[in-house]
């Protein structure tokens, strides 16, 4: 099976500092990959390269056969097919929850207002927030905002979803409600790359874990192997630090 997302020999520099070093990974359709590693290891940067939010200098990324780095690629069109969820939710605060979900459908996908609205309500129902359609993002808790953000991405019918530390800005009691939605997505066969420190989530749904350190992909192993028998000293050290409790 050909990869949905194929990253090959990716390198990126900020000025003279190299932040990604020759990273390669392939993510198959319906595969869930968790990316973890110490802060500053390049996880988020790697994720943002996948939908072209960050440019890169060397290597190649293709999503569903479309090359991200190719100057001829219509990036907005490609991005419309890849969902992304951010650490700080990034809902549009001047628009109601409903409008947050319908605006991109109407403007980017050119759906009719009725169609977009029906889709929005269906997805709000799915994340358990139908009652909040006409609230503004600022009136919702962090966990609720993140669920709305996931629904907003899903409304675009993405072929893959990227999660950039979706729970790290949340209060502990709100993490579970967001993870539950993500587990549901994974079970439904969504292709997902999830940058997170939630190792419980990784164990539960990830097919593979990618471990990064200092801009390199140090480990890329099936979930069970990664937790039980990490191949590198750096991964072992990282796991011992975050799993000791």
């Amino acid at each position: 099976m050909s990869a949905m997302i194929d990253i090959a020999g990716l390198s990126k520099w900020y000025g003279a500092t190299q932040v990604l070093k020759d990273c390669s990974a392939a993510i198959a359709t319906a595969e869930v990959v968790v990316v973890c590693g110490p802060s500053g290891s390049g996880k988020s940067t790697l994720l943002k390269c996948v939908n072209g939010l960050e440019p890169f200098q060397q290597g190649r990324i293709s999503v569903d056969g479309v090359s991200v780095g190719d100057p001829k690629t219509n990036l907005p069109r490609l991005r419309a097919r890849i969902g992304m969820v951010f650490q700080h939710f990034e809902l549009f605060p001047h628009l109601s929850v409903r409008r947050n979900l319908t605006l991109p459908q109407i403007k980017v996908l050119r759906r009719s207002a009725d169609e977009a609205n029906a889709k929005a309500l269906r997805l709000l129902e799915r994340v358990g927030l139908s009652a909040y359609a006409d609230k503004f993002p600022g009136e919702l808790s962090g966990g609720q905002q993140q669920r709305v953000a996931i629904a907003r991405s899903l409304a675009m019918d993405p072929i893959a979803m990227l999660f950039d530390e979706p729970t790290s800005a949340l209060d502990p009691e709100m993490i579970q409600e967001v993870l539950d939605v993500m587990v549901g997505l994974a079970r439904d066969g969504m292709t997902m790359i999830v940058v997170t420190h939630e190792m419980g989530f990784a164990r539960k749904v990830a097919h593979r874990v990618v471990f990064m350190d200092k801009g390199e992909i140090v480990e890329n192993a099936p979930t069970a192997d990664f937790f039980e028998n990490p191949g590198s000293e750096r991964a072992r050290l990282f796991l011992s630090k975050i799993l000791q409790h």
Partner: protein
């Protein structure tokens, strides 16, 4: 102390003061604000584009406008615009531009420089993540700006934009240099015709004060109403 002042004169000239004078003042303020904000926003987008053939002229324009006395601009434009018009339209004579059109062009272009800086600050106040989120949803640059960044920037800046409009409202009185009858011009004509300088100028000052003060209070109310819930 007002015994030998004739305030009745003011009452008799009210229709002229307000119908002729204030109409001009308010129309000029409203149109120049509107055009100024539109042009200023475009200049702000140019300044923030990161493309040097857009940033350099926009920055030069703003700096030029902000370094020249306004009265000089009004005066200079009044005499220059007909010749520019002639040059653009290839006509044989200087183009006939009325005092209203001339002052509207001057005020709009001058205020655009100030509105540009206000909108630039407003755009920069929007977190980068908002742009990233909009892009990640597949929005193109015009969509990102039009639906996500500018509406928020504009709302954040409404109080500053309106405060600048109040300054503009007061500045419209400078059209006296090209002999246009705005509110102050009308008051001044009546004052000199009837020799009632103190009464008329006092009255004019009160009118400017009442309108400006009421407007700035309205801005404060509006600021509370339009604030985005965060």
């Amino acid at each position: 102390m007002f015994a030998h002042f004739d305030f009745g004169e003011i009452v008799r000239s009210l229709p002229y003061l307000f119908y002729t004078g204030m109409t001009f003042t308010l129309l000029l303020t409203a149109l120049a604000t509107f055009i100024g904000i539109v042009v200023g926003t475009l200049l702000a987008l140019m300044r923030l584009s990161g493309i040097s053939f857009l940033t350099v002229p926009a920055a030069a324009y703003v700096n030029l406008m902000r370094s020249v006395p306004f009265v000089l601009m009004i005066f200079w434009f009044y005499f220059l615009v007909p010749y520019i018009g002639q040059w653009v339209t290839f006509s044989a004579q200087p183009l006939q531009v009325g005092a209203f059109a001339s002052s509207l062009v001057t005020f709009s272009l001058f205020e655009a420089a100030f509105f540009c800086e206000i909108m630039r600050a407003g755009i920069q106040s929007i977190p980068r993540g908002q742009v990233a989120a909009a892009q990640a949803l597949g929005m193109t640059y015009p969509m990102v700006m039009g639906y996500v960044v500018l509406p928020q920037a504009f709302r954040n800046m409404v109080p500053v934009l309106l405060t600048q409009t109040i300054v503009l409202f007061q500045d419209t009185s400078l059209v006296y240099v090209i002999s246009v009858t705005d509110f102050l011009g009308a008051a001044s004509k009546v004052a000199e015709r009837d020799g009632r300088l103190v009464e008329m100028y006092t009255f004019a000052a009160c009118v400017y004060f009442v309108i400006s003060f009421a407007a700035s209070r309205a801005v404060q109310v509006l600021q509370r109403r339009t604030a985005i819930i965060r």
